[in-house]
């Protein structure tokens, strides 16, 4: 499949926009946290600090420089992996973040691996038998999951699997997971919750993408010439729906970013989101900024990826 020059120009444009967005977003994150009332030096030293000590610390931290040059310094630091030190426990933010990032990514990877095949099967099946009992059941279920907050899905999962069935431990994350079964049990609840949240989005979008393709004249033609419903969808519609489906997958994976914040808090899972929520409670600014940037970057890359896939798979731009 050859892509025309226009396609690459469009993709380049999209990447450029993503980069500009990233700069604006980091600008927003920096100034939202930096412009807050209350002096960082005073917060650090506590109420008993003398004015001289505060002035000294301000000088040492470079707080007297203009905000914009501090922003540039901060941005440069981010790019080179220097994220400053945590105010609260005086550890390099990179070290704190690095330890937690692995946990969060592992959770996201497991959810993605379960979610994608499951959601694609459900979505395509619902589209194939549009209007059937299966389709309606799937629609009602996904709408219900989308209309309620993530923590409610988590609450429901705990009620069902821990309280009523008693299969899994409630609200606890066993870091000392020694055996394989214990490991599964520790991961099960966060994974179930996130899978529900993300799959619901993915199923809806996949179904919509496939149905849009099914409604085109050439697919109708396939049905008219006598192809079975299954063949019509799998052979004629699906290849052309692949682009929109991939777009839907990337877009719904971006719901992981919001979902993971709630889920890690509910289940006490030691990931980046829990780190950030704790940092908000203690107003640990460098940590909040860095965590926020981690989330924004992952979110932005997912939605950019979705757009790029949509551009690349658009047959009208093919040579």
């Amino acid at each position: 499949m050859l892509r025309s020059l226009t396609t690459w120009v469009l993709v380049g444009q999209r990447l450029g926009i993503a980069l500009i967005t990233l700069v604006i977003v980091s600008f927003a994150v920096f100034f939202a946290t930096e412009m807050l009332p209350g002096d960082v030096a005073e917060i650090l030293l506590g109420q008993a600090a003398t004015p001289e000590a505060v002035a000294g610390l301000r000088e040492a931290m470079g707080l007297n420089e203009p905000a914009f040059s501090r922003f540039l310094g901060w941005l440069g630091g981010l790019a080179t992996g220097d994220m400053g030190r945590s105010y609260v426990n005086d550890i390099e933010v990179v070290d704190l973040l690095g330890r937690r990032l692995g946990n969060s990514l592992r959770l996201a990877a497991v959810v993605t691996m379960i979610c994608v095949p499951f959601a694609l099967t459900c979505g395509i099946a619902a589209a194939m038998w549009q209007g059937s009992l299966l389709d309606r059941a799937v629609s009602i279920l996904t709408i219900s999951v989308i209309s309620v907050p993530e923590f409610m899905v988590a609450t429901l999962a705990v009620l069902i699997f821990a309280v009523w069935l008693g299969w899994l431990p409630a609200l606890s994350y066993g870091a000392d997971a020694t055996s394989f079964v214990a490991l599964i049990k520790a991961y099960a609840m966060p994974v179930i919750t996130l899978t529900c949240v993300v799959s619901a989005q993915m199923i809806r979008m996949t179904r919509a993408a496939v149905i849009e393709t099914i409604n085109t004249p050439y697919v109708e033609m396939a049905l008219l010439k006598g192809a079975s419903r299954r063949r019509m969808v799998l052979r004629h519609a699906l290849p052309n729906a692949l682009g929109p489906i991939a777009n839907a997958v990337a877009l719904s994976l971006s719901y992981l970013v919001g979902g993971v914040i709630i889920v890690e808090t509910v289940f006490n899972y030691p990931g980046v989101a829990k780190l950030m929520v704790d940092a908000v409670a203690t107003r640990d600014l460098p940590l909040i900024q860095s965590c926020a940037m981690v989330f924004c970057v992952s979110y932005l890359s997912l939605i950019t990826l979705a757009d790029v896939i949509a551009t690349l798979s658009n047959p009208r731009l093919r040579q």
Binding site: I24, V148, V158, I261, V280, C296
Partner: protein, 285 residues
């Protein structure tokens, strides 16, 4: 003060003579029910919502406590009724600000066009690149949590989306002949957006407002659940779930009922919007 908006909006639609199907009516009934509760909550709470009335914490559903008691022994029914004020009120104020801002900016951008449109669209698109819950976390971490801050934050989160939607509709209307005629007549931008564009995008824009209301309820509940939304001793529904999350492993009704309240509101708004007559909902005009 902010609670009144819902009732006229809900009542106005049938008066125009639109017919609703059964699902839509149930949705509307639940929405009106919560709107009324939000207004009259202090009059009908069986106990003062902040008072400890039962020595037993996480008490079960009983005759005197219809929804059980919470982690301190306060009556959950009273707290859920009062919580409706915060959840419905803050969300409604947030969504009104977000949509009013989004629609006005969207129409102005569509009518003026040119560099104004380009810059505004790019800028607001960039803000769409921040996950909503995260935006709330960062702002509240910076400014501290209070009800005006919450309302403004929620409005800021959903303004870009509303802008994008209203602008897309307004751009279509803007190319219609009657707008060209009005422009040739020498009408000002203010007149164009008020008299020519707004009436023609109102239906879909109101439907969009309903959907955005659901998102705002979800984000507000999420923020309160994380402990940075409505601050104790007051509690919205998300805050009630947070307070009583310890009771989850006991299967306490104190966790379950606030959850049901949130779900009933968001699901019925979705049901109502999904079943609006095509005339109102149609987004392709």
């Amino acid at each position: 003060m902010i609670d009144h908006h819902d009732t006229p909006r809900g009542l106005r639609l049938p008066r125009f003579g639109y017919a609703f199907n059964m699902t839509g009516r149930i949705g509307l009934a639940v929405i009106l029910f919560w709107a009324v509760i939000a207004i009259i909550a202090p009059l009908i709470t069986p106990y003062p919502p902040g008072e400890i009335v039962d020595w037993d914490y996480f008490g079960p559903v009983s005759k005197s406590y219809w929804m059980g008691t919470d982690y301190l022994g306060r009556d959950i029914l009273s707290r859920v009724l009062m919580g409706a004020r915060y959840t419905v009120g803050i969300s409604l104020a947030g969504v009104t600000l977000a949509c009013a801002g989004g629609i006005v900016f969207g129409m102005v951008a569509a009518v003026i066009g040119g560099w104004f449109d380009t810059i505004l669209s790019r800028l607001l698109d960039a803000f769409n690149g921040i996950p909503s819950l995260l935006f709330g976390l960062v702002v509240v971490a910076a400014v501290g949590s209070s009800i005006p801050v919450l309302i403004l934050t929620l409005a800021a989160i959903y303004l870009p989306g509303s802008y994008r939607f209203a602008r897309a509709l307004a751009v279509n209307v803007n190319t219609m002949d009657f707008v060209t005629v009005a422009r040739a007549r020498g009408e000002k931008t203010g007149y164009l957006i008020r008299a020519e564009i707004l009436p023609n995008i109102l239906g879909p824009v109101l439907a969009d407002l309903g959907l955005r209301f659901v998102f705002i309820v979800l984000v507000l509940s999420g923020l309160s659940f994380l402990g940075i939304g409505v601050q104790p001793p007051h509690a919205d529904w998300g805050g009630l779930v947070r307070e009583n999350i310890e009771g989850l492993s006991l299967g306490a009704p104190a966790v379950i009922f606030p959850c049901i309240a949130i779900a009933s509101l968001t699901i019925s708004v979705n049901m109502f919007i999904d079943n609006l007559p095509k005339k109102i909902r149609d987004r392709s005009q």
